[in-house]
């Protein structure tokens, strides 16, 4: 069935009303760089395209009082990495935002949209998990918040109930002596879907010698991106060293349960999970030292 209707509600409430009225036939989009293609290739059947870019709250990106960052679900990646302050305080966000698709995609695609598409290999989700982001969801029964590591429930599936949509991503303020980094592996140097990706956020002791805490996430190695708790625990209280980092990398490899497909094999992805977690931890530690 071709798209029957395009609506562009101006407020969150209007959007909720539209979704309530059209039910499963309606689908929200911001940049649309995933959804428009899925509809054209008949991988998703959508009757009503609901454009949320006209709702001010969803296209706003602003620091919160406590130094955190509230990113509207429709804010395009390009606006994030062009904001010098966001780039300075959240380099890990920029690692992800600056490589989703090409420049043309980043002008439109939003982190919110990348999250709601819920691909296991999404390049924004490990970063959001590592940074401890919470998702603000609006629906007919009001608003609720979900930690991002619980957002995805399966390949292309998430916790959004009928009539609900993502309003904003709340990124906590980075603590002192903290640093975070994201990296993906792709066969080319651009334009590919990740064979494997990983993000790490660390908080070091004042002298930078030991890990106070760490959040480590990996993607494309399970039905959803994974917060690898065991890897974080492997570092808590440990000295910053190749050995401790290696133990976290091994925990990440152990947690990975990848498939073999045209983009990569199980053995390759498990190997890369360890390689990438090692790299992002080293990068995060370096950034923490510089913070």
């Amino acid at each position: 069935m071709a798209v029957q209707e395009y609506l562009a509600p101006a407020t969150v409430d209007d959007a909720v009303a539209v979704l309530g009225e059209h039910g499963s036939a309606a689908r929200v989009f911001a940049g649309g760089t995933d959804l428009i293609i899925q509809v054209r290739e008949r991988r998703r059947d959508v009757g009503v395209m609901v454009d949320i870019k006209k709702i001010p709250e969803l296209v706003e990106c602003a620091f919160t009082g406590d130094g955190g960052l509230r990113i509207g679900a429709a804010v395009p990646c390009a606006r994030l990495y062009r904001d010098p302050e966001v780039a300075a305080k959240f380099p890990c966000l920029i690692d992800s935002a600056s490589l989703i698709g090409g420049i043309q995609i980043q002008s439109r695609a939003s982190l919110g949209g990348n999250l709601c598409n819920s691909s296991p290999a999404a390049d924004s989700i490990p970063t959001l998990i590592a940074l401890g982001v919470t998702c603000e969801i609006a629906g007919s029964s009001g608003r609720r918040t979900v930690p991002v590591e619980q957002f995805c429930t399966g390949p292309g599936q998430n916790v959004l109930q009928p009539g609900e949509f993502l309003v904003a991503l709340n990124v906590p303020a980075p603590g002192a002596n903290s640093g975070a980094a994201f990296e993906r592996f792709i066969p080319r140097n651009e334009m590919d879907i990740a064979v494997c990706n990983a993000a790490a956020s660390v908080v070091l002791s004042a002298d930078g010698s030991t890990f106070q805490s760490a959040r480590i996430a990996v993607g494309a190695v399970a039905p959803t991106p994974l917060l690898v708790a065991a890897a974080g625990e492997a570092l808590a209280g440990q000295p910053v060293s190749a050995a401790s980092i290696a133990s976290a990398a091994d925990a990440a490899r152990a947690a990975a349960v990848p498939i073999t497909d045209m983009r990569g094999s199980t053995a390759q992805r498990k190997h890369l999970a360890s390689v990438l977690v090692t790299r992002v931890l080293n990068q995060a530690v370096e950034r923490a030292g510089r913070a």
């Binding site: 066969p187 080319r188 651009e190 334009m191 590919d192 045209m262 990569g264 390759q268």
Partner: protein, 748 residues
């Protein structure tokens, strides 16, 4: 630019600006999909979801009932009188499946409707009853007895005559020189390998598109982006059972072809839909159709052995070469027997070429078809031999290089060729003499050959009253040949390049031209242009004789000037043209040639530096130099462009491009997302060294340059990776996953 005994030219060798580029940089250029005709309907082709199935029935009634639909076409519409669906010739059956679908994506029916959406929806209402059969997808498996048979009537053509039983092996070609078995036994050093490459696509950015109008009087006009208007007319006529005199093919601009737009896919279907509706009909492939429904290049399995004496004399080469033909019979392996040993003077050779059908799209040419895979084997064996002999591989190549008189393709002796000169140029190059430092890095080199062809071309030249000339060309211009031909005409008749306008004309406006392929246009159509130039000067002299009252054969023409015997009267071409044409009747001459089959051979030699990330297996190309014997570089910038474009296609083929099939024969990566062609970030600047060893067969020494540059990269990169990692690569693509496997980092 390394010169070798080259005459001084006035226009040839300069870098004029391409007039046709202005429409391309402003977006005004019209390609296949840009065609607009009044009352035009849009078509959609329904394609088979099964790689191997009998078609039991096709019910189009629901599709015809769709409000927007005007007509539906199936293979039944292309039957000749008294012919049944099982007897459709391959040419037709590949355009629309008759009794069997032989690959996933094989066209089964087509719909013409008022718009795309209606055509596509209606195609979904066509009910096809399939009897699904097991597919065979691997070239070696397809050769085994007991493999599912694609064509019951197919018998293998062998030197001893046809095989007794049905087979998927189209032909077994055998080429033997000397006594290879004995000679191999006598060699001091022998190296061998079992090489395989995957099916890859030409990757042109413009999907195929064609529009047709079938007039009530049977006159058919076709607008298409195709590599040869005349061969397209002939194929379409055969498929339609319609005379070529009633078919006119008009070329639009073409968005790349590389051999993939030699076959016809949409032209006959659009024509038949137009015949049924009385409207012009446009058919346009999308990217999935291009990957799954056109003609990629064969995947290959090559088992080869190379023997030499201890002082580095190559003595014997034996190769068993199996090439995927896809659904219908092809000649890829036959080509391979023409190129496999061309770069070297090897006395004892045995080549067994197997053309094999498999349940994949019917393969088509892709820039020096068969040669890259053949070089992937030979050039790695040469590299390994050099290692064993403790020699510089370049010295080993130079020592054994083919030269004038060496036995070339099909036993024909080479005329003047430049393989020695380009290997020497590589040895002298800055790249080869710059040290490559750092871990996990390696440098590789490789040679490559393509025989290049001449074939038939014809052009018309019209003198305008103002003394300028218009060159009408019938050869598709893939990469700037309108300019290289105009330059050759300007050189021949002694005028400025800006005084020559060249344009593509349709099949009713110029003599027969073979397909634009075989790197032949600047060479073959160039010769026709030179002929036309000569004929034009003769025609001008004839008119001038009357005007000057001087015998025709006493009028001189040098350096672009006519002069009477005593020099009292003279004038430039332009001045004389304004006289004898400006005031006289119009003047058009033509030039036609049969430029022969073999052009004399084009040789390429590449150097590449790579770095291999040991943790991820990713190969990054650091530096690349393409050296090539280009005969005479008519327009050096466009020749450089051929070397750069061919090299990067080779880099993609070597590193990340492949057709990924599931067990049912469905391609999983039929999009530019997962069919990974190189982007701007995957390659460095491609340095070029043009070596000019003039080709004696052409008046200006021109040699075909389009195809050789894609041949060396596969092997050059494989050699570089081997030197960086110490591990030889026998399979393409050398993807990060393959490198991790072969270097033992992961167990698969």
């Amino acid at each position: 630019m390394v010169m070798a005994d080259k005459p001084k030219y006035r226009v040839i060798g300069t870098r004029p600006l391409r007039p046709d580029a202005i429409d391309k940089v402003t977006g005004r250029a019209q390609y296949g999909a840009d065609t607009r005709q009044n009352g035009m309907l849009r078509g959609y082709v329904l394609r088979s979801p099964h790689a191997h199935a009998n078609i039991k029935s096709i019910d189009v009634s629901k599709a015809l009932a769709h409000p927007g639909v005007k007509a539906v076409v199936t293979a039944a519409d292309f039957l000749a009188p008294g012919q049944d669906l099982a007897q459709l010739p391959d040419l037709t059956a590949n355009v629309m499946a008759g009794s069997k679908t032989l690959y996933h994506g094989h066209a089964v029916a087509a719909v013409a409707a008022i718009d795309d959406e209606s055509a596509r929806d209606a195609a979904g209402l066509i009910e096809v009853e399939y009897d699904v059969l097991p597919p065979v997808l691997d070239v070696r498996e397809a050769m085994l007895p007991g493999a599912p048979i694609l064509h019951e009537a197919m018998r293998t053509r062998t030197p001893e005559g046809p095989s007794a039983d049905p087979s998927n092996v189209v032909a077994h070609a055998v080429v033997v020189f000397g006594d290879p078995e004995t000679a191999m036994g006598e060699c001091d050093v022998v190296v061998e390998g079992d090489f395989s490459t995957r099916m890859v696509h030409q990757g042109y950015i413009e999907p195929q598109a064609a529009t047709a109008m079938w007039n009530p009087d049977g006159q058919v006009t076709i607008w298409t982006a195709h590599q040869g208007s005349f061969p397209a007319r002939q194929s379409t006529a055969t498929i339609l059972n319609h005379p070529i005199s009633k078919i006119r093919v008009v070329l639009t601009e073409i968005g790349g072809g590389f051999g993939g737009k030699i076959a016809v896919y949409l032209e006959p279907v659009a024509a038949m839909l137009s015949k049924k509706t009385g409207h012009p009909v446009k058919l346009q492939m999308d990217r999935v159709d291009v990957f799954e429904g056109t003609g990629p290049t064969p995947g290959t399995s090559i088992r080869a052995k190379l023997g030499a004496t201890k002082d580095g004399k190559l003595k014997a080469y034996m190769a068993d070469m199996a090439y995927e033909n896809g659904a219908y019979a092809g000649t890829a392996a036959n080509y391979a027997t023409m190129v496999a040993t061309a770069c070297y003077d090897i006395e004892h050779v045995r080549l067994d070429g197997y053309d094999v059908v498999v349940n994949k799209p019917r393969t088509q040419d892709y820039r020096a078809p068969s040669s890259p895979a053949a070089a992937f084997a030979m050039e790695q064996l040469v590299d390994q031999l050099a290692e064993k002999l403790n020699m510089d591989p370049e010295k080993l190549r130079l020592q054994n290089s083919s030269r004038e008189g060496t036995r070339g393709s099909m036993g024909m002796p080479f005329a003047r060729i430049g393989h020695e000169e380009i290997v020497q140029a590589a040895l002298d190059s800055d790249h080869y003499n710059s040290p490559l430092e750092g871990p996990n890095r390696g440098r590789g080199t490789a040679s490559g050959y393509w025989f290049n062809v001449g074939l038939r071309s014809s052009v018309n030249v019209t003198v305008q009253p103002d003394g300028t000339v218009a060159l009408a060309v019938g050869s598709t211009d893939l990469s700037g040949t309108r300019t290289s031909l105009a330059m050759q005409l300007a050189e021949t008749i002694g005028v400025e390049f800006d005084d020559v306008k060249s344009l593509e004309v349709d099949t009713d406006s110029v003599g027969y031209n073979d397909v634009t392929a075989g790197s032949r246009v600047t060479f073959g159509t160039g010769m026709a242009t030179y002929e036309a130039g000569k004929n034009l000067i003769a025609a001008m002299k004839e008119r001038l004789a009357a005007t000057w009252n001087v015998p025709e054969d006493e009028i001189q023409f040098e350096e672009g000037k006519f002069s009477s015997p005593d020099g009292s009267k003279s004038g430039t071409f332009k001045e004389i043209a304004q006289l004898v044409v400006g005031r006289g009747p119009g003047l058009t001459v033509s030039g036609s040639v049969n430029a022969g089959f073999l052009q004399g051979g084009g040789f390429a030699h590449h150097i590449v530096d790579v770095e291999v990330d040991p943790d991820t297996g990713k190969v990054q190309v650091l530096r690349y130099t393409a050296v090539q014997d280009v005969g005479t570089a008519v327009h050096p910038a466009y020749v450089e462009g051929q070397l750069q474009g061919g090299a990067v296609q080779g880099i993609g083929w070597a590193l990340n491009e492949e057709y990924f099939y599931d067990d049912s024969g469905r391609m999983l990566n039929s999009s530019f997302l997962d069919y990974r062609m190189p982007t701007t970030l995957d390659v460095p600047m491609i340095d070029t060294i043009l070596v000019e060893v003039p080709n004696p067969l052409h008046p200006f020494g021109v040699r075909g340059v389009g195809e050789p540059p894609i041949v060396p990269p596969l092997a050059a990169i494989a050699n570089a990776v081997a030197h960086a990692t110490g591990v030889r690569q026998y399979q393409l693509p050398m993807s990060p996953r393959r490198i991790l496997q072969t270097t033992g980092k992961i167990e698969e």
